[in-house]
Symmetry: C2
Subunit: 210 residues, 2 copies
């Protein structure tokens, strides 16, 4: 799959301005999102599976990668491409074993130590952040800045998806600092025109590589 | 495993009178619990895995069955004997596929229709209830009574674990109505002396069979 991390849009329905989950996904994909993560902390598994199955179809049709946050069982149930885990979720090594080699494992990291550990545990990509201050991710700590991203870039070779306060104005800096792509929540799904916001951000990422 | 369902104790730490999770488990096992279910709705997966690993050791040592509520991934991660799902959790058929044949699948049911469906989906036992009114299980509907239990008993042949308001005074009625065992939360883990409460309930269940 070519450059699946360019624009990684995280779907958390209650940050989507009252629009239904699948509408957020459709619009993000219409704007060129290369990966979609379903990140719902308050939905029962049954509902996650129902949404996940629909998102699986939409992402297949768009050629986008589909990742489920935290619930590895749901990821397997809906045949997502993989699971993304934070430092409070399943231990990465356990997730790797349960997933098998055919699925993608992403791990949230904020330090070089965590990044190295995640790689040792079998991560396929890292979510790195928060780069900038943000309100989207309630469990985000102090921003690590571009310096923190560069340090992780120097320490590991797997793809890095930068997260936290990224928008079309600063995306180029993040790519220049070594990110393979950017992950966003509100910057895309909170925008009045989701597809346009995605398109603008994706363009900024791709321009930054040239 | 002989009669693992006689006394099925559900562990939800905040119903345990401020005592630590593992203390609740130890005392329940000391009192003869034949199965332990870890049912925590608000803990991150990382913590569930840590607790689950300890409970796995304690239940092995006691020869008791260990079931994880809802999180099939955690059940696999800690090598529990199986998973228990409610009507809001993973679809039973999906859970059966993800678990494989070697693990136990339990499904909460309150009607003959749900019970038949759960069996068709691959359940190994059913949680049946609520039998009586209870405050432990916030999502429990109207009690189905002994009549509801009998109707399910007549409809399916797999083991039935009755749940909801069961104590040592009414356990005999529940067994007489066709339950293979009883599941309890507060009646055991909310008791001042957990082991004594478990012992008394287990004795009531076993007497009812003779
Ligand atoms: Ni949950």
């Amino acid at each position: 799959m070519m450059a699946p991390w360019d624009l990684y849009v995280i779907i958390t329905t209650n940050l989507g301005g009252g629009r239904p989950t699948l509408e957020l996904v459709r619009q993000a994909l219409a704007g060129g999102a290369t990966a979609i993560q379903l990140r719902e902390k308050d939905l029962p598994a049954r509902e996650l599976v129902e949404l996940g199955r629909e998102i699986r179809q939409l992402t297949h049709a768009a050629g986008a990668t589909f990742i489920v946050n935290d619930r590895l069982d749901v990821a397997l149930a809906v045949e997502a491409d993989g699971v993304h885990i934070g430092q409070e979720d399943l231990p990465a090594r356990v997730a790797r074993e349960l997933l098998g080699p055919g699925k993608i494992l992403g791990v949230s990291t904020g330090t070089v130590l965590e990044a190295r550990q995640a790689v040792a545990d079998g991560a396929d990509y890292l979510g790195v952040g928060s780069i900038y201050a943000t309100k989207s991710k309630e469990d985000a700590g102090e921003p690590i800045g571009l310096a923190g991203l560069k340090a992780i870039r120097a320490a590991v070779t797997i793809p890095l998806v930068a997260i936290g306060g990224i928008n079309s104005s600063n995306a180029a800096d993040v790519i220049a600092a070594g990110a393979d792509g950017v992950a966003v929540v509100s910057a895309v799904i909170g925008a009045p025109d989701i597809a346009a916001a995605a398109r603008e951000l994706l363009a900024a990422v791709r321009r930054a590589r040239h």
